[in-house]
Symmetry: C2
Subunit: 259 residues, 2 copies
């Protein structure tokens, strides 16, 4: 399995605190030693840092931890390989373009019989993971359903949720997907989220001896949501998502969810 | 205008030496202060580092200079904006997927009337540069010509060269394109290349007081080609490409060229 982390914020915000906790799980406090990656959005543009080595040993991960990149949406993944070799092309997140946007995707879980169940024809995987294959299948479905015209937001993400529930029948499919504006999370069995806003308090990482007082690094207007497979702090109340539930976040807030 | 740099090698090789020269031209020895980016291939996978700020001031560029990533193919770009704002989505190189491969592209030059002359329908730009637009148009042409089946190498790159010559009629179009295996270079007005192999000698950067003795960092089997808009060293013989000429490199060697 793997671990997922994402952020949606209403102002460019750095994710150094959460990332420094998560990266410890990549070979240190957790077994997810088969690579890691993180994608930061700044407007419509995005940039990724990734490494097919354990995040706890990665100099690039250390650099990202210490260099605060301010972003409105971030998706991060640390990998424990179960499908596909440990190599760069199998390292999440995956980014592809559709409708003039960068779409970034990361998956936690495992899918059985995915090649037969999820045939692809337009979007062809580069690597050999179940995860990238499912991403390509999802993009194919969006392409066949909506063509060259991006649909309204609600129709789009309700359709994504429906496809995610189909993929989920093949195993475990916790999904994070973003276009840099919206952050979509589908829970197969393990996803938690928390929205931080004024009055901000202190948060203490589970995986490292780090405490941050968000009052000191925010303004009273800031709203930031963090989504993760497992809670990253031990003194805050995280929402546990139910199996088959989904949430759509924008600018730090949940704006739609499964009923 | 901008500056381009690329490498093709028969063994994973770091580009720190050449990159450290080029990045000085991003706000220090040159005016290319509107961002920079570099894409490294490792097998079919690739990873990019980019920043919409001057490379000479970029902490990420400093990190890349000091952290030797070994790669078989690299494409690098430093930008002096003439089409499109200075922002992340307008920062080269651009990477998109086709035929289960990562295709990475960078452009030096300027194109007039590109939106009318190069209509796109399948591959839609994220940003607003002439460069990304021309990349999307090129991918559209490949898609319409060859469909879902990647053609043989010679047919592919002769077609790419033909499309490059069409784009070139709109202005200046020096092009670097790779799938991680082949490196294609099309010269509009400014491209130089050099192949280094045994017996290796010393090379001295033009833009920084750095000398490297390649004998000390190579084996006698290594073959490495570097392509750049302008020569990066002052004590080696670079080949100047002619206008409308193209070269195809693989594993460090020129394997095909325009007649």
């Amino acid at each position: 399995m793997c671990e997922l982390l994402a952020m949606s914020a209403n102002v460019p915000t750095d994710i150094c605190f959460s990332f420094s906790g998560l990266m410890q799980r990549g070979g240190n406090t957790g077994p997810h030693k088969d690579g890691w990656g993180i994608t930061f959005y700044e407007g419509k543009g995005c940039r990724s840092f990734k490494d097919p080595i354990p995040s706890a040993e990665s100099k690039i991960a250390t650099f990202v931890t210490e260099y605060p990149i301010k972003s409105e949406v971030v998706i991060c993944h640390i990998r424990q390989a179960n499908s596909g070799n440990v190599c760069l092309e199998n390292t999440h997140p995956f980014t592809r373009q559709m409708w003039g946007k960068n779409w970034t995707y990361a998956h936690n879980g495992q899918l059985e019989g995915f090649k037969q169940a999820l045939p692809v024809s337009v979007h062809i995987p580069v690597g050999t993971t179940d995860s990238e294959h499912a991403f390509c299948w999802l993009l194919d479905q969006l392409h066949f359903k909506f063509g060259s015209q991006e649909p309204p937001t609600q129709a789009l993400f309700e359709f994504v949720a429906l496809q995610a529930s189909k993929i989920n029948t093949l195993g475990v499919f916790n999904l994070l997907l973003t276009d840099g504006d919206y952050l979509f999370a589908y829970c197969s069995n393990n996803l938690h989220w928390i929205t931080r806003k004024a009055p901000f308090g202190e948060a203490s990482l589970i995986d490292a001896e780090v405490v941050v007082d968000f009052k000191e690094v925010t303004t009273s207007n800031d709203i930031v949501t963090v989504v993760a497979t497992q809670p990253l702090t031990d003194n805050e109340q995280w929402h546990k998502m139910s199996p088959s539930a989904w949430h759509l976040f924008k600018q730090g807030q949940s704006i739609a969810a499964s009923r």
